[in-house]
Amino acid sequence: MSQEALQQLLQEHPQRLWRGQAAAPQGVATAWPVLDTVLGKWPRGALTEIYSSVDGIGELRLVLPAVAELSRREKRWVLWLTPPYLPYAPALVAAGIDLSRMLLVHPRQRLDSLWVLEQALRGGTCSAVLAWPPFLAPAQLRRLQLAAEEGQSVAFFFHKAEEEGGHSLAALRLRLAPTPSGLRVQVRKRRAGLPGEGELTFPEQMAWSFSPNGS
């Protein structure tokens, strides 16, 4: 079939022709127009893995618009599991998050972290889960993925870039890299979709750049 004929078909029957992306799981809008074509929506009832080399490059700004929307719209918890720093309340309010929905959880033992994640994902009591989990064995990850399918939460798992392995059960895997004006989002894996790349531009406050040679 020639390319023109294919285009014609797509235009004439937009609803009836199945296109890979249509099968993507239902999700929550990212609120970043750039990402609409690159990754669609944040998947619900599935895990999203986010790898980044350093902290503080915009990993929260990437997800917070959707989290803020969920915190205001759904009467469920937004659970933060063992974040590496303090999620700072004044900035969270400015980002539009309803803080009365927020749960900050710091278990004392590693095994309890897994338990918390499973409870949070399975029970349907959390609209979003933001987790900085300990290392997860494939079997544990699979268990959490199954739990996520029951609970209809949006689940972000943040990892260090060097932990990225090959195979993953997550519905979406991203790799983040900083750019001078924002953040490059590289889609490494996407269920029912192709890998891609997009760049976010942050409405930046003036930042004083610094490099070791003192320029």
Partner: protein, 469 residues
């Protein structure tokens, strides 16, 4: 007046049976008299051929695995009193009928229409006791005694008008009447079997022969003379003690019994329009006891959620000795505030809070929190930990970083000074002696991270305080 009576035909054995995690044949033995005889048995024992009136030796010969338990009349009475409180949900007066033990009666002339008639009340009570795991028979009649006898004779006995009842009660068998054993025997010897036969005997004769009480009983039964009985009072405490039918040492053995007790107590809280903020569980051992308490963030009366909480609390804490009995008390009762919400919202809210309770029960206090902004200049004091769900009015600040370091991190002192227009000066705290004077600015490091850095105006040192993540 219209009375609905509840008769519990197998109360003693039901109370044991409903605490058993898996079905075991159980029979209840009455120790009155010289020989012990089987009084009641559960379905499993009945299938095996155990019948009331059997001697214990014969019963054990028939079924060696049969578990024999002594009848605990005081315990049955305590349950009956507690359940009377449940019946108060449907009518203004609940009375015990000690002569027809175990039975209680509820007056519902004025309230039946609220529950789609007497049948509606009967249906609800039937379902309630089915959930509690106790067999019940219902009778309805214009007198409390009449209702109790109807319930005792068969389930579903019903007569609404007094006129009709005064005819119907003549057909009751005399054997059903609560009479002393001797009187009953004498009447049978005379060949009298129905109440009708007593009714035609002139009262003088009847009273000379059997004492005045028989005639009075008949009058009360038929509603000719009033039958005043004291209303049962609400128990002051919501608490319950049960003997475990099988000794338990750890959570799995305890779970089933605890679930029943929780159902029972939560039902009572529902009738009282209350919920409990704290619960206390005592496990009674052969010597001494273990006490656990559970305090909740919000008062609850959701049996399943509470069971899950106790599970997180007790799992992995085996007892040092076999547990004989347990006592659960709801303490710190408060009026239940969930009425304004629709039931679906209430269910959802409860699920959200029970999730938090579960986390706290497993992880310990201080591990689950919310955050709130505080109106304060010093960044490290512009937020605080709060209880989950607390609504805070504080404003946001878009110039603040999303990540704050728990404590400012000293940086090498060789940082270049930023242009003055990029500085934000923060000063304050002179009022409590922890005053700060800092120039904050945003610094982009070579690795791409955007840092929130300040120069301490006193020492001149640089510190990292957060990340614009």
């Amino acid at each position: 007046m219209l009375w609905l009576a509840l008769h519990f035909p197998s109360l003693g054995v039901d109370l044991l049976d409903r605490l058993l995690p898996e079905p075991v044949p159980v029979a209840l033995v009455d120790s009155a008299g010289s020989r012990q005889r089987v009084m009641q048995m559960n379905a499993l024992a009945h299938e095996a051929g155990i019948r009331p009136g059997m001697g214990t030796a014969a019963a054990l010969a028939l079924l060696p695995t049969l578990r024999l338990c002594a009848r605990d009349r005081a315990g049955e009475m305590a349950h009956l009193r507690r359940w009377a409180a449940l019946a108060y949900a449907y009518g203004p007066q609940v009375v015990l009928l000690p002569e027809c033990f175990p039975a209680l009666a509820l007056e519902l002339e004025g309230s039946a229409h609220l529950f789609a008639g007497v049948e509606g009340v009967a249906r609800r009570l039937r379902r309630l006791f089915q959930d509690l795991g106790v067999a019940v028979q219902v009778g309805i009649a214009p007198t409390p005694l009449g209702a109790a006898l109807l319930a005792q004779r068969q389930d579903h006995g019903c007569c609404i008008t007094l006129e009709q009842w005064q005819r119907d009660c003549l057909d009751l068998p005399i054997a059903l009447l609560p009479l002393p054993e001797a009187t009953r025997r004498d009447l049978a010897a005379l060949g009298l079997s129905q109440v009708k036969a007593l009714w035609v005997i002139p009262r003088k004769q009847l009273s000379r022969r059997f004492g005045p009480s028989l005639g009075q009983l008949l009058d009360r039964l038929a509603g000719i003379t009033p039958d005043p009985r004291p209303s049962l009072a609400f128990a002051p405490k919501v608490a319950m003690t049960v003997q475990l039918p099988a000794e338990a040492e750890s959570w799995p053995g305890l779970r089933f019994a605890l679930r029943r007790v929780l159902q029972d107590l939560c039902e009572q809280l529902r009738v009282r329009a209350q919920a409990a903020q704290a619960w206390r569980l005592q496990l009674i051992l052969p010597e001494g006891q273990m006490t656990f308490s559970l305090s909740l963030r919000r008062p609850s009366r959701d049996a399943e959620a509470l069971l899950a909480l106790w599970q997180s609390h007790l799992e992995g804490k085996p007892s040092t000795a076999p547990i004989r009995a347990l006592r659960l008390a709801a303490v710190d009762l408060t009026a239940y505030d969930g009425q304004q919400q629709g039931w679906w919202e209430e269910g959802q809210e409860e699920a959200l809070w029970s999730f938090v309770e579960r986390l706290r029960a497993r992880l310990g206090d201080g591990t689950v929190a919310g955050v709130a902004p505080v109106a304060e200049h010093r960044p490290e004091r512009a937020w605080r930990r709060v209880a989950p769900g607390e609504v805070s009015a504080g404003g946001g600040n878009a110039r603040r970083p999303l990540w704050l370091l728990p404590a400012p991190l000293p940086l090498p002192a060789s940082l270049p000074a930023p242009p003055p227009d990029q500085l934000e000066r923060i000063e304050g705290g002179w009022w409590d002696g922890r005053d700060v004077a800092r120039d904050y600015f945003v610094l982009r490091r070579p690795d791409g991270s955007r840092c929130w850095v300040y120069r301490d105006l006193r020492s001149g040192g640089y510190f990292l305080h957060g990340y614009f993540a």
